[in-house]
Structures are given as structure tokens and as C-alpha cells.
Amino acid sequence: MAEKFHTIVTTVENKPGVLARVAGLFSRRGFNIESLAVAPTDDERFSRITFTVDVETAPLEQVVKQLNKLINVVDITELDPDEAVSRELMLITVSADSAHRKELMELVDDWRAYVLNENSEQIMLSFSARPDRLAEFEEKLRPFGIAEIQRTGRVALKSLAD
């Protein structure tokens, strides 16, 4: 899988304003954060922020060093895509009239998505997978008519050693 993005994982203090400090180091350089996921860790004093950025390696190294200087940042790692497992969750509402419903449900089964909610016109699906697979699934669903879509941003952990 060719990865265009760098994945940075930081452990930060679970306090107000920390996300703004982290984001500020990217925005001051004009770098865009491609995806972002934040939630508390098993220790509620800390949160884990996983973000992906589309940045050259050299300036990224400098940003990572600057991030490390933030008082509220406890730990920071860049995950090598070859040594990490990453997942992203997508909620997607698709048109599902009676003419196409069966075909759609076959696709849902094939891709191991879940139906969360439905009525006579639409179905809301949950799909969790490798981030590149989310885009593929989205393309499969597009012909049915996508009403609304929300992705969570990727989360990642280092792969286990052999």
C-alpha cells in the first residue's frame, strides 16, 4: 500500500487547549492536517491524538521536534506504515429503494459492513477498515446514491513484533 501521508501519534495531557497547541504548529507553517482522531487513553489524565499529514519528511521532522517541546505533549511517535496497523470508521447513508435494496444488501454482506438504521428509502451503514478500503467501498456505494457520509479519521497502533 503506497502511503502518501505520515501518521503521527501523540500522547498528550487531557486538558483544554492542548489540541489547539498541537494544531497551531501545523497551521503556522501552512500545513494541512488530513485526518485527526482524539480520545482519552486508558489513563484518563491523557489523550491520544492520531493525525495524518501530507508533508515532506524534512519539515515534518522539525514539526515533530517542536511538538515534543509543547509542555502538554508527553510522547510523540511517527508510525512507519509498514510497521503499523491502522483503521478508520465510516458512517454512510445510502439510498435504498425497493428496486436496488437487494443488490445493496449483497454489497454490504460482501464488504462486512453493518446496517445501523434504515427506513423504506435509505439505509445507514457502518464500515470499519483500512483507510484506503473506505474510499473503495464509498465508490461501490456511489451508484446507489450517497445522502450523507462521515469518516472518523484514522487511528493506528504499532504492529506487534513477530
Partner: protein, 591 residues
């Protein structure tokens, strides 16, 4: 754990002042206002001296000047909204020059935050990028801990400004939200899991650095402001003398190594002297200690010191490799690392094991002989040369005089022509280049070092930005002396327009007789002297030095056509240094 302590019930406002006392604060530079009012009441009964400034920017630069001169953190206190926005420039200044400083700002009451209340602004949001760290305190009980953390962060690792934003309700004794139990916070109370600066340098890297130094044929010690922050001047001198390697002191490090020392080459960079610039350029090993390869030092980066290996020592790991790739990069406190290098050098055989560097020494002294700093003396009847004024100031004052400078030509003349033989005697705005810095910084320095003589060297552009603080100096009895080099121009901008914009002068002329600086200074309670002829310079300085019951302003009317040389034009390589016109012919033999 605070239950077991000798807790004292009080309001958050009293607690804040008590915590500042507990941190050893002796002086606060500040300006009251609505949101900070409850903190100003307990100030009346405090042992801390409060110095009432005339503009919040003045409070910030005074705190910086105090910190530069004493090594202790400077403290400023201002109100919310405009009070806070007015101190943003000094915070940015302290951030770029790594000045330890704690700034307390008032804030609107917690329930009003985010409602566009009167004198409200998002202070922590605004100052996030110009502070080492900032805090918004929302509970009175957190005040002792946060104040201790603020001082800890400001003074350890790479020093810097820390801001503490205090909403009014948690300090107002009429509000139950301000009730709290004060305690004497210690390091054990801090909650800073992400902050632990590494002080010790890696031993193996230190040994590698020592070996590089031993084997270098054309080494230069490139020392920056970090030497002063780390109190490393003595360790540096021991190193330089042991290995007999020449030293360049950056604008932030003037005085960290004595100018009068035979190994001192003076200031490098855009307006550095020829020898300092060229020795770095021709060097085979730059030993960078607490310096950051600023663009004003390196010139065009890909032409900078092309044959030099780099040893880079810095407390801040983000500096290592930021600008120039290093051969040995050591994270750690400059003093500890230099002491480590000294130890390693002795183990490697000390001075005797060094490579023979006599050829390098004679090359360097050849440059010193051919390209000393120089200027042409003024013809009879012409205006004063600014360099001459600085030379007379230098000769008319003791070597431990503290000099605080503004930003521009006068700053460069002061750095070039003063002889700095003691650390902590040179105070200026290097990184941010803040015009108007000198007068408030000199006041802060004098407040912290009342027994030292303090001269502000200022330009007329700078003077007009912060002169009102001379009222503060008069009223608070802080008798600084100001050498105002008045050339009626924004001199450095004028020089750039002359050299790089075909002498098209745009918005740099400030008018010759307006304002009348003597009347202005006198109206602010200062003694004032105007000097126009060379023979009046020394007597005026002598007279100024005799006046100690109030501030003194000496206005020197100087030659507007004078330019600062040498100069490496912006974007050019340091090999293209432009020397004084009288030395230009000598360069032909060099290249």
C-alpha cells in the same frame, strides 16, 4: 497532600501575591485595570516592589531587561484585553531570545469568558505562539501550583516567557469562588508529565566532540546567547584557553567571552567584523555552543562555512539540525556539556595533543591586522559620527557598565564599538528586533542591578516608540542614562534603501527639530543635554555620569549619511562581505 500542610485560608488574589513572594519575586513591572484589580489590593501589603509603568509594552521589556541583567525571571502584571494585547510584543521578544519571564494577565470572570465581555480577549489563544507555555487558571485552589509551574517552566531547560491568565472571579474576595487554602507549592506539587529538560550531555558524543576539536586545523568556537543563559562563561573560557581556539560571540552573546581576550574575534554575521565572518567561513570545524545558526549569522545558507564540520550543543533538541546538519549534535545544558568537553579534552592529552594550528592563527591575525573595524572621523563642522559617540561612551564608563540597546544602526554600532568584557552587560533584542526595546529594558536592568551603571543606547526612531517609560524611571527613581543617537532617520532602513533601492528614500526621514528631545526629556523629569560637536561628547558623558538623582538623556546629533560596515547583504553569502569603503582595495588580495 495539601491537607497535611500549614494551609492558610485566603482569597485567590492574596494567594497569587503570596505565591509570587514564595517564588522569590522582588519586583513586578505592571499596570492595573478592571480585571486585575483584586490582585492589586494585596500588592499594597506585599514585600514585592511594584513598578508602575506607562504602557504595558514597557512592563514586558522591563521584565526582560531585569531577567537579562540578573539571571532571575522578570515578572510583569497587566490587566485583560488591551493590557494583555499590549504585552504580546515583549512576550514574542522573550520567546525569540529565550528570556525567562512570567507574565500575569487579568481575565474577565470565568462565566463571562467567551461572551465578548468588556476588555475581554482570548489571551491564551493570542499568546500561544509567543510563549513557552501559558495557563488559564479557572479554580482559585490551583493558583499556588500553577504559579510554581510557571516559574519552573520559565527558568529551566531553554528559558522563555510563561503567561498565567487569571479570571477576576477567582481572585475577588467578595466572590466565594475565590476562597482557597494557600500552601507553599514545591516541585512535588507540579503536574507536568510532558516536561523534563535533559541537562546532561551524552558522554560518548562529548568524547566524539573532543576528538573532532583535537584534530581540527581551522576550528572556531561559535558561541551564542545560550552560554549566558546557562551561566557557562567560565567553562567556555577554560575551553578556549586550553585548546587555544578563536571565539566569535554572536549579537546575543556579546560579553560571554571578553572582547579584550586575544582569542576573541568579536561578532560574526550580517554586521560582524571581517575576521569573525571570514574565520567561520574558512573554518574546518565550527563548535556551536548555545547558538542557533540564525540567518543573520549564516547569510545565504548554502554558501555558509562550506568546509566546516559542525559540533552543535544546545539545550533545545529542536535546534539540532534545524538549519545546518551537524557531525556531532549534543543535547544538554551548555555549562555541563562544555565542562564535559573540557574533561574529555584533558583525557585526550589537553593542549599538547592538539594539531599544530600556527598557520591558522597567523591567517586569522592577518585578517585582524588588515580589516579592523573602521570609520572615517567627521570633518570639522560636520555632524558627529555615531561610532565616535559609542567609542567615547565606552572610554568614559567602567567596563562593567550595562548597555541596553534598541534596534537599528545604533544597535550595531554599540555591539561593534563597545568593548564587552563581562557577561550580562549587553542587553538587546536580537531575534525579534523590537524597536523601542532599550529604554524599558535599561529600566528593568537598573531595577534589578541598582548598583550598576546602566546606559541605554537608543536611536531617534526607537526613542519615539517607548520614551514615555522615562516618566516611570523618574517617578520610580530608577536613574538610567540614555545616549540618544539622533540622525533624524530610520537609519538602518535608510541604509538598505541607499544600497539596495537605488537611493530611493521612502518614509525614513523623521524630521530634524521635531520633537525637541531635550524639552521632551526634561518634561519627563530627566536631565537633558544636547551634543553637536565632537569636543562636547566626552564632557557631556562625564556630566551625565555625575547625575544620579534622576534619569539623564544625552542627545547626540549624528551624521545621517553614515552606514554600518562591514555588511553581508541579505541573501548573499558571507564570502561576499562588504567592508568599509576605505578597506575595499585590500579585499582584492584575499579572494
Amino acid at each position: 497532600m495539601s491537607e497535611q500542610r500549614d494551609n492558610q485560608q485566603m482569597s485567590g488574589g492574596e494567594a497569587l501575591v503570596k505565591s509570587l513572594e514564595h517564588e522569590g519575586v522582588e519586583s513586578i513591572f505592571g499596570y492595573p485595570g478592571g480585571a486585575i484589580l483584586p490582585v492589586y489590593d494585596p500588592i499594597i501589603d506585599s514585600s514585592i516592589r511594584h513598578i508602575l509603568v506607562r504602557h504595558e509594552q514597557g512592563a514586558g521589556h522591563m521584565a526582560e531587561g531585569y531577567a537579562h541583567a540578573t539571571g532571575e525571571p522578570g515578572v510583569a502584571m497587566v490587566t485583560s484585553g488591551p493590557g494583555a494585547t499590549n504585552i504580546v510584543t515583549p512576550l514574542a521578544d522573550a520567546m525569540l531570545d529565550s528570556v525567562p519571564m512570567v507574565c500575569i494577565t487579568g481575565q474577565v470572570p470565568v462565566p463571562a469568558i467567551g461572551t465578548d465581555a468588556f476588555q475581554e480577549c482570548d489571551t491564551t489563544g493570542i499568546t500561544m505562539a509567543v510563549t513557552k507555555h501559558n495557563f488559564l487558571v479557572t479554580e482559585a485552589q490551583d493558583i499556588p501550583r500553577v504559579i510554581h509551574e510557571a516559574f519552573h517552566i520559565a527558568t529551566t531547560g531553554r528559558p522563555g516567557p510563561v503567561l498565567v491568565d487569571i479570571p477576576k472571579d477567582i481572585v475577588d474576595p467578595t466572590n466565594p469562588r475565590s476562597d482557597m487554602n494557600w500552601y507553599a507549592a514545591t516541585d512535588a506539587d507540579m503536574e507536568l508529565p510532558g516536561y523534563s529538560p535533559q541537562m546532561e550531555g551524552d558522554r560518548e558524543l562529548i568524547r566524539q566532540a573532543a576528538e573532532l576539536i583535537r584534530d581540527a586545523e581551522r576550528p572556531v568556537l561559535y558561541v551564542g546567547g545560550g552560554i549566558l543563559k546557562a551561566r557557562a562563561a567560565e567553562a567556555l573560557r577554560e575551553l578556549a584557553e586550553m585548546v587555544q581556539i578563536p571565539v566569535v560571540t554572536t549579537l546575543m552573546a556579546r560579553g560571554a567571552f571578553p572582547d579584550s581576550h586575544e582569542l576573541c574575534l568579536g561578532m560574526p554575521g550580517m554586521h560582524g567584523n571581517y575576521t569573525a565572518v571570514t574565520a567561520m567561513q574558512e573554518s574546518d570545524l565550527l563548535i556551536s555552543l548555545g547558538a542557533r545558526f540564525d540567518d543573520r549569522v549564516t547569510g545565504k545558507l548554502d554558501g555558509f562555512a562550506p568546509t566546516a564540520k559542525i559540533i552543535h550543543v544546545d539545550i533545545d533538541p529542536a535546534e539540532l539540525g534545524k538549519v545546518r546538519q551537524f557531525n556531532v549534535g549534543i543535547q544538554g545544558d551548555c555549562r555541563l556539556v562544555i565542562e564535559g568537553i573540557n574533561h574529555a579534552m584533558r583525557e585526550l592529552g589537553g593542549a599538547d595533543a592538539q594539531v599544530d594550528r600556527s598557520a591558522w592563527r597567523s591567517t586569522v591575525s592577518g585578517w585582524q591586522e588588515n580589516f579592523p573595524l573602521t570609520y572615517e572621523q567627521s570633518a570639522p563642522g560636520d555632524k558627529l559620527k555615531p561610532q565616535y559617540v559609542i567609542e567615547e561612551l565606552r572610554d568614559g564608563n567602567p567596563a562593567d557598565t550595562i548597555v541596553a540597546s534598541g534596534v537599528g544602526q545604533h544597535q550595531m554600532y554599540a555591539s561593534q564599538w563597545w568593548q564587552f568584557d563581562h557577561p550580562y552587560t549587553w542587553i538587546n533584542s536580537g531575534g525579534l528586533g523590537t524597536m523601542g526595546f532599550s529604554i524599558p529594558a535599561a529600566i528593568g536592568a537598573k531595577a534589578g542591578r541598582p548598583d550598576s551603571r546602566v546606559w541605554a543606547v537608543d536611536g531617534d526612531g526607537c526613542f519615539q516608540m517607548t520614551a514615555q517609560e522615562l516618566v516611570t524611571a523618574s517617578v520610580e527613581n530608577i536613574p538610567i542614562k540614555v545616549a540618544l543617537l539622533n540622525n533624524s532617520y530610520l537609519g538602518m532602513v535608510r541604509q538598505w534603501q541607499e544600497m539596495f533601492y537605488e537611493e530611493r528614500y521612502s518614509e525614513v526621514y523623521l524630521q530634524e527639530r521635531v520633537p525637541d528631545y531635550v524639552k521632551w526629556a526634561e518634561s519627563m523629569g530627566c536631565a537633558a543635554i544636547r551634543v553637536e560637536a565632537p569636543e562636547e561628547v566626552a564632557p557631556a558623558i562625564e556630566k551625565a555620569n555625575e547625575i544620579n538623582d534622576r534619569p539623564v538623556v544625552v542627545e547626540f546629533v549624528t551624521d545621517a549619511g553614515e552606514n554600518v560596515f562591514p555588511m553581508v547583504p541579505a541573501g548573499k553569502s558571507n564570502s561576499d562581505v562588504v567592508v568599509d569603503p576605505t578597506q575595499a582595495h585590500l579585499l582584492e588580495g584575499e579572494s
